[in-house]
Amino acid sequence: MPTTVTNSIGTTGRTYSTITLWEADTDNNLVTADQVQVGECYNDSGFDEVITISGATTDSTRYRHLTTATGQSFVDNANKLTNALRYNQSNGVGITNASVSYTHTIEVAEDYFRMSKLQLTNGVNKSVLYGSSTLGMQCSQVIVDASSGGDGTVVYTFGSSGGPFTTWTNCLFIQRASGTTSVGQFSWSVALVNCTFAVPASLTKCTQVIYNNYGDGTGTALNCAFYGGTDAGPTTSFTYTTCRSDDASPPTGVTTSAYDTTTGSGFENTTDATRDFRIKSTSAFVNNGTATGAPSTDIVGTTRTTVDIGCWEFTGGAAATSNPALRMFPRPILNF
């Protein structure tokens, strides 16, 4: 059983003052050490840095995991059910690269890396996250909200055949630049589970909300929402199950629902400046997801009862419940 080594990252009396230095100091052979290295970020102030995750020797049970300390994430915020669902560092740990032009905020070139409960954005001309590892990474409860169009997308991940290896669960991706190529570009293998992808309706649509550059691999999308693109996603190489989009001619497995704040997508707010991708009670997403394979909770930890589509589970504003016994079966725990 691997030992979990947890270190704090922040500006006030933490073990590390930057994520980059945590990464450098844990850049070891974790298989030989039989360790999971966890970096817990504190919201002492915003993180503004360029992060490259590479070099550690890892496997499926010994890896690095970047997350937040208890009480430091938007997931833990006291007003999480009423906060607008978008990047807002005052709600929890936020990471940006506002300084170094033409550079991703985070590049992951290491297998089995995990990331959770974080908010990511960018400031300068490059996608927020670039994943170039062979065996991919696992991400859950992450908001990726790109303020710069960069290289035409918000996240860009690769992998290898035989996957899916990279998994995004309960994540929100927002492209805030007009007329870009996509919101997410995924090549080789990826699994998207209860994720929401959007270009705010006040902006020019992107070409394709999710895009598969090379048509390889075995992409899957379960209970996902794809909004603000001319097309939802690729019609080959991707399998969709109970997804929704404003694409009038969507791929099989994707149902057309209007991009609105009422009975279609039913988002709280689709205008760029005031964007809020929680859903209302009237949304067509409510109770229309597939239970099998869905996570037991949503992006802020609300228990999914009858599964909604996208990253947000509508609760009518009631407090989120947290009963571990309800999380075990029949839907696996995909948040971590």
């Binding site: 500006t11 009396g13 933490r14 073990t15 590390y16 003052s17 930057t18 980059t20 230095l21 450098a24 100091d25 850049d27 052979n29 840095e49 360029v50 490259t52 590479s54 070099g55 020797t57 300084s99 170094v100 550079t103 590049e107 070139a109 290491e110 170039s132 690769f158 090549s187 550059n213 090379y214």
Partner: protein, 139 residues
Amino acid sequence: MDWLETMCRVVVWTQTRLDQKDTNYAPGDVICVVDDKHVFSDLERKSPKWRILDIPDINKEDMYALIMPERDPNTTNKALVRKRNASLDLAALPIDVKDWLTDNRVGREETKILVLTKEQALALIKPKSPKQTRFKTFS
């Protein structure tokens, strides 16, 4: 030590490791570049793996070339082949700075000021010869 005059602080990897890979930091690689207001933790100031170098009158933007990775443009995913594409030219550093960088003794001076002109600082950025060792597909 007048911290107010410092404009740029670089963290330089100094440890030689037996299992060195291109995706790890190598001696002379710069881990991060921060401004003079940055406060390092106790562990960071005393780590045997790296040293913190202060370079007055240099903006951190001038040193960003030191924190870029090297990619292989011939691969589909522009694979990262080396964690840093350039390093500090250790051979060009003053001898006392070079000795200090490789001095991992307990109790050693935690930071050092390297007084350079902008031109001298930029001359210390030494590009590495390209690796591009990964497979090449999808022309």
